[in-house]
Subunit: 183 residues, 2 copies
DNA sequence: TACCTTTGTGAGTGACTACTCACTTTGTAT
DNA sequence: ATACAAAGTGAGTAGTCACTCACAAAGGTA
């Protein structure tokens, strides 16, 4: 692991824990055991560091999503699978999602790194809409938006109270709901 | 309107637009047309100002919620009503909810004013759970958590893209879903 | 060895920000 | 009119933070 990577990992953790604005570069340097100047040599400025973190994390997410997309099955099964996978991935990438959440809903910052996040979101919604269309649901795009919002809502509530929130139960309930609904 | 109120309103708007951390007290003073010192005379410090904003807004929300709670009807109707009202109130109190959202998902700040928000949330969930219990749903508490997350997810997505997000359609779809589901 | 590039350092700087304080103005009760 | 409290001012302060820069060390190449 190079110092450049150590800086990235440390910043990811601290941004997720404390928030971007409340994490001084001096602290990142200290906890990464490098000089403060090195951060700026590698990432130009603090925004550049944030962008690099988002870019790396999103690339990883996109990669795993692509590998899943190769699998084939009935559209209804694909939808259920998507719920399943989303609510599992949040656990596996907890720290990164915590950072993303911080950024998504913070007015001033979302401009810095919001676009990459939006793109992945839109990709997900299109993928969902396609499956709803195959089931011949009326208004598939809106059904996709709804399901996406529902999954997102669960993720966000889990991030807010990770220890107590019954994520698995929520997953089961949501799946049950979509198994019962006649589109 | 006293200067104290003007400061509160101005800070609410700026916090919602730019975020708490990215809004200097000097800007609040300038846009409220008062001296910077006056902010601290009335609210002690910046955190005090934020707490006052949250307290006022939440009191207002609690008030309207209480007035609605007086109405009676079937539990299923009450659930539908809650969806209806939540997704209307978000439009009416857009600025305040935008601020609340900023705070809820920001790691460092939620400690300052997060408790009041949590309390109202828990109140809502308990109210929902009660209605689910009356319908004799299995696991009413978790059904309540799910519905709450679903509504919240829609609200959050609308706040992220207020101009384009089809809030009314989402409302209709969610209600339709809950009318079709057999608990 | 000599030379160049990349990586790394840490003291220093200018800009900004929350907050203070001595002082003035306004309102109000007697 | 006088006295007193509350409201209001704005220059000043101590501290923090992102970022710079002159310099040193390390690594590769000939």
């Amino acid at each position: 692991m190079t110092n450049k990577d150590i800086i990235l990992q440390t910043a990811l953790r601290l941004f997720a824990e404390q928030g971007y604005d409340r994490t001084p570069t001096s602290q990142i340097a200290r906890e990464a055991s490098v000089s403060e100047g090195l951060i700026f040599r590698h990432y130009i400025n603090k925004e550049g560091l944030l962008k690099a973190i988002i870019a790396q994390g999103m690339a990883q997410i996109a990669e795993t999503m692509a590998s899943y997309a190769e699998q084939s099955g009935s559209p209804r099964w694909a939808l259920i699978q998507h719920i399943e996978r989303s609510l599992t991935s949040i656990r596996e990438n907890e720290v990164f999602w915590r950072l993303v959440t911080n950024i998504r809903f913070q007015s001033g910052i979302s401009a810095i790194a919001g676009k990459e996040i939006e793109e992945v979101n839109q990709f997900v919604v299109r993928h969902l809409a396609e499956n709803f269309r195959k089931i011949s649901t009326e208004a598939p795009e809106q059904q996709a938006l709804l399901l996406f919002a529902q999954i997102d809502g669960i993720c966000l509530h889990w991030l807010r109270d990770t220890e107590h929130y019954p994520l698995d139960k929520m997953k089961q309930l949501l799946i049950k709901q979509y198994n019962h609904v006649y589109f």
